[in-house]
């Protein structure tokens, strides 16, 4: 397959995952502004920071304001990080790699684009927002489902999967990076309303509220949340899960090509950290430092995959 095609698949699925994650973030922000209006402004700020768009938002719109932020993240044509821009970029990549996609996958991504183009043509009214966010999550799930059900398990599929998990782990890590301080064992304000809000943001923004309930019951404990999002291999949005998958997918490519590449060693180094450490060791090392290391390592891995498989010249 062409290097460009590998890159196109990787980015198509990254953009889809990113749009879906942004929808989760808006959902978390909306929830808090509806239920805890006093905490809304600081939570919106941290959501903007997690998406990496705080700077461009402030430059364009100034102080955080719920409706403005929602429109900015959903559909602002001047925001290349908006959901609409992400879906457009995913579809443009899909057009480039069209010969690598099954008809089902192409139709799912094209329909995702057509539907969102329609529902995001105008600013979304408050009453329609939950439904619109649901459409984003649903349409992106359709593409994932079509890929899962119809794509041959070869290098193409593996590059697509690597893009998905790479972006997902990145998203989880950025939320943790914003909120690490409330997960530290030294936090003594357990049970205070403000902490509950922040924990709720974390779980909602990763769509893991329900999974947390199932696995850990109703008691919200910051140490358990940290373990859950970083090390729990059962949770499909945890860093350990995503990197386990990236390692597997890279391994399948190496096996298919009969050659291991430098990126395989980098991925293995990241995976081994998740295997070797428990939460106590991570807290001893420093949670913030651990996540900072992870973000740096994953950036390096992304660059190495691009070089090893010749995404561009």
């Amino acid at each position: 397959m062409l290097g460009k095609t590998a890159g196109g698949l990787f980015w198509m699925f990254r953009y889809l995952e990113r749009a879906e994650n942004t929808a989760r973030m808006i959902d978390a922000g909306l929830r808090i502004s509806l239920t805890r209006s006093s905490a809304a402004e600081s939570e919106w700020t941290s959501i903007l920071q997690s998406t990496g768009l705080h700077g461009s938002y402030t430059a364009m719109h100034g102080a955080p304001d719920g409706p403005k932020i929602i429109d900015f993240l959903l559909r602002d044509p001047n925001n290349p990080g908006s959901i609409m821009a992400g879906i457009e970029a995913a579809r443009e990549n899909a057009r480039v790699v069209r010969t690598a996609l099954t008809r089902e996958v192409w139709e799912a991504v094209n329909e995702c684009y057509m539907v969102l183009k329609r529902v995001l043509a105008e600013p979304v009214a408050d009453r329609d927002l939950p439904r619109v966010l649901q459409v984003v999550r649903q349409r992106s799930a359709f593409v994932r489902g079509a890929s899962h059900g119809t794509m041959v398990r070869n290098d193409m599929y593996n590059f697509a999967r690597i893009g998905t998990f790479f972006e997902r782990a990145d998203n989880t890590a950025r939320i943790l990076d914003q909120k690490y301080y409330i997960l530290l064992p030294s936090v003594r304000l357990v049970g205070s309303p403000s902490d509950n809000v922040q924990w709720e943001t974390i779980l909602r923004a990763t769509s893991t509220t329900r999974a947390y309930q199932t696995l850990h019951g109703g008691d919200i404990d910051p140490r358990v949340i940290a373990h859950f999002l970083i090390l729990d291999g059962r949770l499909p949005r945890s860093l350990a899960f995503c990197y386990g998958k990236i390692g597997e997918n890279l391994g399948y490519i190496a096996k298919e090509y009969g050659a291991s590449k430098p990126c395989d060693a980098l991925a293995e180094a990241i995976c081994s950290k998740f295997r070797a450490h428990d939460m106590n060791a991570i807290f001893d090392y420093g949670l913030h430092e651990f996540i900072g290391d992870f973000l740096r390592d994953s950036t390096a891995l992304g660059r190495q995959i691009e070089i090893d498989y010749r995404f561009s010249e």
Partner: protein, 475 residues
């Protein structure tokens, strides 16, 4: 229905009863409800949009991806009618290839006085870089789209020979798929010759033209200018259907004397490149130095037998409209036979007598640019206003050699479906021809283009034309 007696309608002739090839279809149609068919029409549009069968319109930022309207009344051709057309096309394509070989080698046709030397010498489409070069298998036009128009029961004319990069074949295939999907019952009643073998035939035909450097199974690739090109969908579609890679210039480079594509495992040589990029952009070292769409050095590899380029560089001269006017002579010169398919009588405005006649009769004529395509820059006299004619007259007088003129043909019509039922519209036909050393393969039918505006003669998709499925019936 009422028919203007002036035009031959392919469904009803000059009368009101269905002509023989349409009998079974009309019987089915008369049992159908117009409202249901209009719904089917919308269904077809949604399907095309979902699949992404779109084209890009240059210079229109609001509608970068547009659908070509599809009309669901098929155009039907009897096996007997088609046999003659196919024979004529084969003869013409054979002559075109012999002509291209000749003008890039000994130029016997000029020596024999059948073609003026300046037709080549002053022609931008003639590539001096191709002189003395023989392409693999001696094939120049691997893919041809011969545009035909019809004026009567047995009267077909060649309107132009598209010998560089004819487009539209994906519409031919998608139109048929759509019809099969929407009206399966019709195809069990009426036996229509299949077109779906085209991508496989294209793969085989191109593979049969592999260059000397190819050892083993030829590697094919389709070269596209990229996703913003108006025919990108077709490029992706053909690559996909042939199982070939879809490449752009930046995926390619010359490695060890071969043109190779950058894959995840390193550079891999290409044997046959089906390029959908114009000559001018093919090699910045040989042609336009600013081109980002081509491959630096590909022409050197080509001349050394390292790659097949389809169609060969320099074939554009054969679909030049001034050369077109010599086609009857060209066919006779190389095949020793009279042309089976007629040319439309053509006035070369470069000749003073012809120019005078054209200027005196502008309101009756169709005037085209010699190198033009896509329906741009042409004058349809009978449909033009006085002001448009005056403006065109000035352009023509300033540069007569750039134009040819033809009488306005009484193009046949085929009905389309409208809210009020069937209504006749003018059509043309682009059959698709594959040429290899082994054979000339013509897909039965081709792409029917239809002018959707009543009375209009311009069928180009860029000018608001639509398409129809084209049926050639089984014997």
């Amino acid at each position: 229905m009422v028919n203007k007696p002036l035009y031959f309608d392919e469904m009803f002739g000059h009368g009101t009863d269905a002509r023989l090839p349409y009998e079974a279809y009309c019987k089915w149609f008369n049992g159908e409800d117009n409202a249901r068919l209009l719904e089917k029409s919308e269904e077809a549009e949604a399907l095309f949009r979902l699949i992404g069968v779109t084209f890009n319109v240059y210079g229109d930022p609001d509608a970068t991806e547009r659908l070509i309207p599809f009309d669901l009344v098929p155009r039907i051709i009897a096996a007997r009618e088609w046999a003659k057309v196919a024979k004529g096309i084969e003869q013409r394509v054979r002559a075109l290839n012999a002509f291209l070989h000749d003008i890039y080698h000994r130029q016997e046709i000029v020596r024999a006085g059948r073609l003026p030397a300046e037709m080549l010498a002053r022609n931008e489409a003639f590539l001096p870089q191709m002189i003395g070069v023989t392409p693999p298998g001696d094939i120049y036009t691997h893919i041809v789209g011969t545009d035909l128009v019809r004026t009567g029961d047995d009267a077909f004319f060649v309107l132009e020979d598209n010998a560089r990069t004819p487009s539209g074949v994906s519409y031919m295939l998608e139109n048929r798929e759509t019809m099969l999907h929407m009206f399966p019952e019709l195809f069990s009643k009426i036996k229509v010759q299949s077109v779906s073998q085209y991508p496989n035939s294209l793969r085989k035909s191109l593979s049969a033209c592999a260059p000397p450097a190819c050892d083993g199974k030829p590697t094919l690739a389709v070269l596209t200018p990229g996703i913003h090109n108006s025919a990108y969908y077709e490029h992706a579609f053909l690559a996909d259907q042939m199982g070939a890679e879809l490449v752009e210039g930046h995926d390619l480079r010359v490695v060890d004397g071969r043109v190779a594509m950058r894959t995840t495992r390193g550079y891999k040589p290409i044997d046959v490149l089906y390029r959908r990029v114009d000559d001018d952009y093919l090699d910045p070292l040989t042609f336009n130095p600013d081109s980002m769409l081509g491959v630096p050095g590909i022409m050197d590899v080509y001349r050394a037998g390292g790659i097949t380029i389809a169609n060969a560089p320099g074939t554009g001269i054969a679909d030049d409209k001034a050369i077109y006017s010599y086609m009857p002579d060209i066919v006779e010169f190389y095949t020793g036979e009279k042309a089976i398919l007629q040319n439309v009588p053509t006035h070369r405005c470069s000749e003073p007598d012809a120019l005078k006649y054209v200027l005196d009769n502008l309101a009756e004529l169709v005037v085209k640019e010699v190198h033009g395509s896509g329906g741009y820059g042409m004058l349809v006299g009978p449909a033009a206003s006085k002001k448009e004619i005056a403006a065109f007259r000035a352009k023509l007088e300033a540069n007569p050699g750039n134009y040819i003129a033809q009488p306005t043909l009484a193009l046949s019509t085929v009905p389309i479906l409208t809210d009020a039922g069937l209504a006749p519209r003018h059509v043309d036909l682009r059959p698709f021809v594959l040429v290899s050393p082994d054979k000339i393969d013509i897909t039965p039918g081709g792409l029917t283009r239809v002018a959707l505006t009543a009375g209009s003669l311009v069928v180009n998709s860029s000018q608001g034309g639509g398409t129809k499925d084209t049926w050639v019936l089984e014997e």
